[in-house]
Amino acid sequence: MSPRDTILAKIRRSLHVDGSDVGRRAIVIARLEGTPRSVVPARGQLPAEERIALFSAMAEKVSATVARVASSQDVPRAVADYLRSRNLPAVLRMGDDPLLAGLPWEQTQVEVNRGPSDGSDAVGLSRALAGVAETGTLVLLSGPDNPTTLNFLPETHIVAVQAEDIAGDYETVWDTIRARYGKGTLPRTVNMITGPSRSADIEQTILLGAHGPRRLHIVVVG
């Protein structure tokens, strides 16, 4: 027997079950297809404006900074303002995300490079699929629109998220992804990001900027 079959046989022997039991299979299929929710915290179940406020407050609690702009057209200016206020270089890298790519970057002094990062970029700009209010978490998907390397290699990560994409809980975001990619399918990488990188491995003191970005700036659009 292959190791695979041995392990499955051992599991079945220990559990006193049969792998071909139709009833058991039906239970498993029902859960995988029905994707039931269990206890979802009440904290994030709020009307839109309060939900966005909670998202911002939770993100700030974990040392992210948050700005809000009225429309996507205002994103380049908000990004330029942020970089200037932190004395950071006016140069960034981003992917092909349609929301970001079509913006009037030429109206700012910011130099925009496109594509994945090789580790030499100071600033990465991404667009999140969604935000999650209950913990101030961003959800980003891999692909040419938002290369995953931009989330981790640059020292500063700026993330735009549309206000209408801020959900109360994780389960709602999974429903969005299931609707977009089909049930049971995910893009190569889904990153949930809650604040900038940190480590407490030396004497339990929390320090920002371990291996990932030292700064996480969120621009809420709309």
Binding site: G19, T35, T194
Partner: protein, 473 residues
């Protein structure tokens, strides 16, 4: 990895006399408990979510064979490969052969307790491949050639001065006069050194907090981002995980995540929770070209259907050891294998043998804090009690203990004699301690009185007082 569980008592004695370790353990006592309590208090549904998380895992374990099959099918559909290993040795060899096929010279590693369990680093090194740990704590202990002393904070036993010493020894290309007196400068130096290693690695190896059957996804949870750089930069990504990491759906994972970080570090959510499914897709500008999952059993399938099945719910948050007075006193190394603290005292005898690790379940005051804080509601004290029974049954406990318990059993079965004997003993002890109320030394009790006085009985036994109270009513 090397097992020193058999010398637990000596390990513990040395740990108690290690002043650097005792200083470092102070940070554990001070930090983790308060942070967890605050995080739990801030979420009104916390206990209800613990129940839900326990139920999810119970359901999964009951159908583990079918969820494994479903998971495997999804990984294959997304272009990944699934390998199975019954033993640590098989897992090591599988990983080595994937690395060799990839022509790997260096591999970066995210923190993985399973990799520790199978002794992966030693095996790769012996075959000419350099493993580089990238979690800051793991990196520090790798430089020092030490095993981790905690499952989420592997270098928790070290002070910053010890870290500085290791960095100065290892990073000889950097100017010797640089200032490394603060944790922030140590972190900055590690970031710089490891960034180059990340970009140069041929293979990245991570563990997994969850394997999701719904989508064929492996999930890692980190604060540093090292696990992500490990898995997106090299050409090959290998995941090593044990069978009980299987979780049915993304919703189920989300529910367990709500108790994981809160129980571990007191964060509402860890910084990076990353869901990886297969290799890079057509059009993807980054990500690995190959994606392998090695699924390890190593004794776990035999825990199903037994009194130890509940231990397979463990999500490795570390709350049990963070709250354990024994762990606080001796740290993780004394436990002698990969998993320290209460969960280690339960798992280790199962995975390495009760003859080797029988002392571990004895290292408990049975205060019950581990069970009280366990997010998955694992009845840890009950399991430790089970091991104590097995150890006694198999005549593994020392002769003095067996003799003492035998003597006690003789009297306990003869209640009148028991009462007479205890009454006499209490009187004698009380008389001898008149005016002092305590003993500095006592025959046959040297193990106790070497460290503290023995309080003298006041003259009456519990049974006598009980009878008197009953009569008075």
């Amino acid at each position: 990895m090397e097992t020193t569980t058999a010398t637990f008592k000596e390990n513990a004695r040395q740990a108690l006399h290690d002043s650097q370790l005792q200083k470092a353990l102070g940070y554990v006592r001070a930090g983790f408990i308060e942070k967890r309590a605050k995080a739990a208090e801030a979420l009104p549904e916390f206990d209800a979510i613990r129940d839900a998380a326990r139920d999810i895992k119970n359901h999964t374990l009951q159908h583990l064979d079918l969820y494994l099959e479903a998971y495997e099918e999804k990984v294959r559909a997304s272009g990944g490969e699934v390998h199975y290993a019954e033993t640590a040795e098989e897992a090591r060899d599988l990983i080595l052969s994937i690395c060799q096929k990839a022509g790997a010279r260096t591999v970066t590693k995210g923190k993985s307790m399973i990799a520790e369990e199978i002794g992966l680093n030693e095996h790769l090194e012996a075959n000419g491949i350099e493993p580089v740990e990238t979690d800051l704590g793991e990196y520090i202990i790798q430089l020092r050639h030490e095993p981790p002393s905690h499952i989420i904070a592997p270098a928790v036993h070290l002070t910053k001065e010890q870290v500085e010493e290791s960095f100065r020894q290892a990073h000889t290309a950097l100017p010797p006069e640089r200032d490394l007196s603060e944790p922030t400068s140590l972190l900055g130096e590690a970031r710089g050194v490891l960034r180059r290693r990340f970009l140069a690695a041929d293979v990245g190896i991570t563990g997994a907090n969850f394997l999701v059957a719904e989508t064929g996804t492996s999930v890692i949870v980190t604060n540093e981002g090292n696990g992500d750089l490990t898995q997106i930069l090299p050409r090959v990504h290998i995941v090593i995980a044990s069978i009980e990491k299987i979780t049915p759906t993304l919703n189920d994972v989300s529910e367990i995540l709500r108790v994981l970080a809160r129980s571990a570090t007191g964060q509402d959510m860890s910084v990076y929770t990353t869901f990886s499914t297969g290799p890079r897709r057509p059009g993807d500008p980054d990500g690995p070209a190959e994606y392998h999952v090695v699924i390890l059993d190593n004794g776990r399938s035999e825990m199903l259907g037994t009194g130890f099945q509940d231990a397979l719910r463990c999500i490795r948050c570390g709350a049990c050891m963070n709250h354990c007075p024994v762990y606080h006193a001796i740290g993780g190394h004394a436990y002698g294998w990969v998993y320290p603290g209460p969960i280690g005292a339960v798992l280790t005898p199962k995975l390495v043998g009760v003859d080797q690790a029988g002392d571990l379940p004895n290292a408990s005051t049975f205060c019950g804090r581990c069970e009280a804080v366990c997010p998955m509601r694992i009845p840890l004290p009950k399991m430790m009690r089970y091991w104590r029974d097995r150890e006694f049954e198999r005549h593994l406990s020392p002769a003095t203990v067996r003799y003492g318990i035998g003597l006690w059993a003789f009297f306990a079965r003869r209640p009148r004699l028991y009462r007479l004997a205890t009454r006499l003993a209490m009187r004698v002890l009380a008389n001898r301690a008149i005016g002092r109320g305590r003993f500095r030394s006592l025959p046959l009790a040297g193990g106790w009185t070497a460290y503290r006085d023995f309080p003298a009985p006041e003259g009456k036994t519990f049974m006598e007082m009980w009878a008197k109270r009953k009569n008075a009513q």
